[in-house]
Amino acid sequence: MHLPVTLSVNGRKHPIMVEPRRTLLDALRHDLGLTGTKKVCDQGNCGACTVVVDGRAMYSCLLLAIDCGDRQITSIEGLADGNALDPLQDAFIQHDAFQCGYCTSGQLMSLHALLETKSNPSDDDILRAVTGNICRCGAYQNILAAGRQAADELAQASVQSE
């Protein structure tokens, strides 16, 4: 049995038919073709599938697609503004905050949710934001440094714009 649902992802509406058991993760990857969000553990342990739902970082493997009809979802594909990378993405490249890159989408979306809600996060806030994201290559130090840099840049930009 398939049911209709309209997913709002990265500012675009996607009417799809899904089985009630289909996770948001599988809907993104298979129904919407947004494969930047990765499936790793599929049981809420690793954070690779993290997307931002209504402003909060959430594991898309623990959400059912049909429950997400009235929610605003941002996936990794929606982080950059066209060709202009988000400061977080730039910082990840500069700090080499990844090797294989398979956890990167999740790390970025966890930090993105933090920076959207908190303008001047502490180091501890940054650490907590990615505490649910496993990196098997061991890029943790660089991920934290990249998060720090992006947070500082955004804080600076908001001071300047005031």
């Binding site: 990765k38 490249i93 890159g101 398979y102 990167t104 098997r136």
Partner: protein, 657 residues
């Protein structure tokens, strides 16, 4: 292509008996060679794809009509299949193909196994595979497969497998192959000469790779030709294995891998799923993607072998080692994959100078998933045991642990009696790590409550730098002055693309942004070996340099004709052809390439064998400070400082990661 000669290989090397060696190899860059691009901390060239979700991994391949496969696995560590009924699964909604031992072609696997065996030897052993229109429907179909198992007695540990009444895991018992023994000198005499003997038994546990991207692939046929997008450390290994198993000529199998979410050794061989996906795709007439789920990834996709090491170290009062004797048992799981490569014995034979050494390494079958190489296979296990024993010895002799190691320094390989490429490499690691850590000034704080501090030291060696020759690269120079490096190697996430592009740019005298790499595709690039053993850059880097040198030579010949200047007076720097002593006549590379377009220049290069008079080896050493709560057993690692012999650092940013 440079001229080559045919030479006989040393015994025991892989492949055929002979090898081709290019006559005019280029010498390695000298230590003090001024380089402008190699050695710079460029960010990864594929960074943008990886931070935007645009990098395509095997799991991201989407082809028209693509199906998804799941594997039914044994719930028993040892069992016989009594009855297998697939009819309900075959009739299930969305199912396009089901394979098991009832309908799959007979295919030998492992040493004495089958693609689908009637006797299952570990939890996770493959019983059947289903391809359906979604992963969910494939999982539904698996639940409809009716299997009657006859559970058999099992042994999942080294002890259980070696017990006198142990169940037989294979017909000829639980010892996998002949034990590997090595001996030099007279170990018994060495032990007798010792003033102090350390006797200890160490056990190391099984460890799971758990690369974030599971093993898996997508298979698609066009007529009799198969394309496989595989998550692998070796596109060529998968091509050879799948072609052999499916009885296809290798030119009908194309293996592609652009990005990979980690492998750590477990993806250095081709596993059953490559063949499962290929067979299912053939049967269904549609592309099939088979990515393992996390449970399967933990059960049936390789692990670091557990070991037990019983060792004796003999030493004189001044610390001089007189004997190293070790008996090693390693659990290889239910099958030897051929990719386990866990040479636990190696470091006992090479790390310290000792005239009397015996190692005995026995592989033991257990009813567990097969072992496979895992980041410095064997060396991690051996270092854990040998280096603790060395610290024990230091304590017993009241010699500083680092000083003890210095007194047993070996600057040459004692197996082949040849010097190491950097004989002082380990010495330098000792010097730098102890200085950075402040080893000599270390002091234990007085015991506070239940907390105690301790310091540890360990050294290691590793075969990094040896590469896996041969390996090949071509470079095409385009009319617009951009260059395409074409090689069959793969970037397994380590930054290969970036490092290799830097080497090409350096050799060609072109800016880095004029270089692109085509890799990870057996239909595009020439043969390159598996990316394992820290070997990729050490294999393909020199091949690319050789191709670059070949291309540059051709370019300068053309420039010489067009500029009417002897090629001897020409060089390439930053995209310009310079005329020695006549700066005004220098021209952009594009002026030459566009004048001859569409005629094109292609350089070719190969990585030759390692030097015969030296042994390539790298070294490292680590200092650690830890705190132990003697009441709760909680261990806190306070500080680890490590110093590695990295050879020439092509990109410091990648090394620091």
């Amino acid at each position: 292509m440079p001229a080559f000669r045919v030479a006989k290989k040393e015994e025991g090397e892989e492949g055929g008996e002979f090898q081709l060696i290019e006559e005019e190899g280029i010498p390695p860059w000298h230590r003090d060679e001024p380089l402008s691009i190699v050695g710079q901390a460029y960010p990864r060239l594929e960074g943008r794809e990886k931070v935007t979700g645009g990098a395509r991994y095997a799991s991201d391949v989407r082809l028209p009509g693509q199906l998804y496969a799941r594997v039914l696995r044994s719930p028993h560590p040892h069992a016989r299949i009594r009855r297998l009924d697939l009819s309900c699964a075959e009739a299930a909604p969305g199912v396009h193909a089901v394979l098991s031992r009832q309908n799959a072609p007979e295919m030998e696997w492992y040493e004495d196994g089958q693609l689908f065996a009637s006797t299952l030897r570990f939890v996770g052993d493959e019983v059947a595979v289903v391809a359906a229109e979604s992963e969910e429907l494939a999982a539904d179909a698996l639940r409809l497969i009716d299997v009657e198992y006859e559970p058999l007695p099992f042994a999942t540990t080294i002890d259980a497998a070696l017990a006198p009444d142990a169940p037989k895991i294979h017909d000829d018992g639980n010892i996998a192959g002949e034990p590997k023994t090595y001996e030099r000198g007279d170990p018994e005499a060495g032990l007798r000469q010792a003033d102090v003997v350390i006797e200890a038994t160490y056990e190391t546990q099984c460890a799971l790779h758990n690369a974030l991207e599971a093993h898996g692939c997508t298979a698609s046929w066009e007529g009799d030709s198969l394309a496989l997008w595989a998550s692998t450390q070796s596109v060529f290994a998968v091509r050879e294995e799948v072609a052999e198993k499916l009885r296809l000529p290798v030119h009908r199998v194309r293996v592609i891998k652009q990005h990979m979410g980690g492998g750590f050794g477990a993806k250095q061989i081709s596993w059953k799923q490559d063949v499962f996906a290929s067979l299912l795709s053939k049967e269904a007439g549609r592309p099939v993607q088979l990515m393992l789920d996390r449970e399967a990834e933990n059960l049936a996709a390789g692990n670091r072998n557990p070991t037990r090491q019983r060792l004796q170290l003999g030493a004189r009062r001044d610390g001089t080692l007189t004997a190293i004797v070790v008996q090693i048992e390693q659990a290889v799981g239910a099958h030897r994959t051929g990719g386990e490569a866990s040479n636990v014995s190696g470091m006992y034979q090479t790390l310290y100078r000792c005239p009397n050494v015996r190692t005995e390494q026995t592989a033991v079958y257990t009813n567990t998933g097969p072992a496979v190489a895992f980041r410095a296979p064997g060396h991690v296990e051996a270092a854990f045991a040998l280096e603790q024993a060395m610290d024990d010895l230091a304590r017993k002799l009241e010699i500083d642990p680092v000083e003890l190691r210095r007194r047993n320094y070996s600057d040459r390989d004692q197996l082949e009696d040849k010097p190491f490429t950097l004989p002082e490499g380990l010495q330098l690691s000792y010097d730098r790590v102890t200085e950075a850590f402040g080893w000599d000034a270390r002091a234990k704080p007085p015991a506070a409550g239940s907390k105690r501090r301790g310091f540890g030291f360990a050294a290691h060696d590793w075969s990094a730098g040896t590469g896996h020759p041969p390996g090949y690269a071509w470079i095409n120079l385009n009319a617009d002055g951009s260059a395409q490096v074409i090689t069959g190697t793969q970037d397994i996430g380590t930054g290969t693309r970036t490092g290799l592009a830097q080497i090409a740019a350096e050799e060609l005298g072109l800016p880095l942004d004029r270089i692109s790499l085509l890799l990870g595709d057996t239909a595009v690039g020439p043969y390159s070996p598996v990316s394992s053993g820290s070997a990729t850059q050490a294999t393909i880097g020199p091949a690319i340099r050789a191709a670059g040198a070949d291309l540059k030579k051709q370019l300068l010949e053309v420039a010489s004709a067009l500029l009417e200047v002897s090629a001897m007076r020409l060089s390439v720097e930053e995209g310009r052809i310079l005329v020695d002593g006549d700066a005004a006549r220098s021209v952009a590379v594009t002026e030459i390439t566009s004048k001859i377009a569409p005629s094109m220049l292609q350089g070719r290069g190969a990585r030759g064998p390692n030097p015969e008079d030296k042994i390539v080896r790298t070294f490292g050493a680590q200092c650690a400070e830890i705190e132990v709560d003697v009441e709760t057993g909680e261990v806190t690692v306070l500080r680890v400082v490590t110093s590695h012999d990295c050879g020439r650092i092509v990109n410091p940013k990648l090394v620091e990661s």
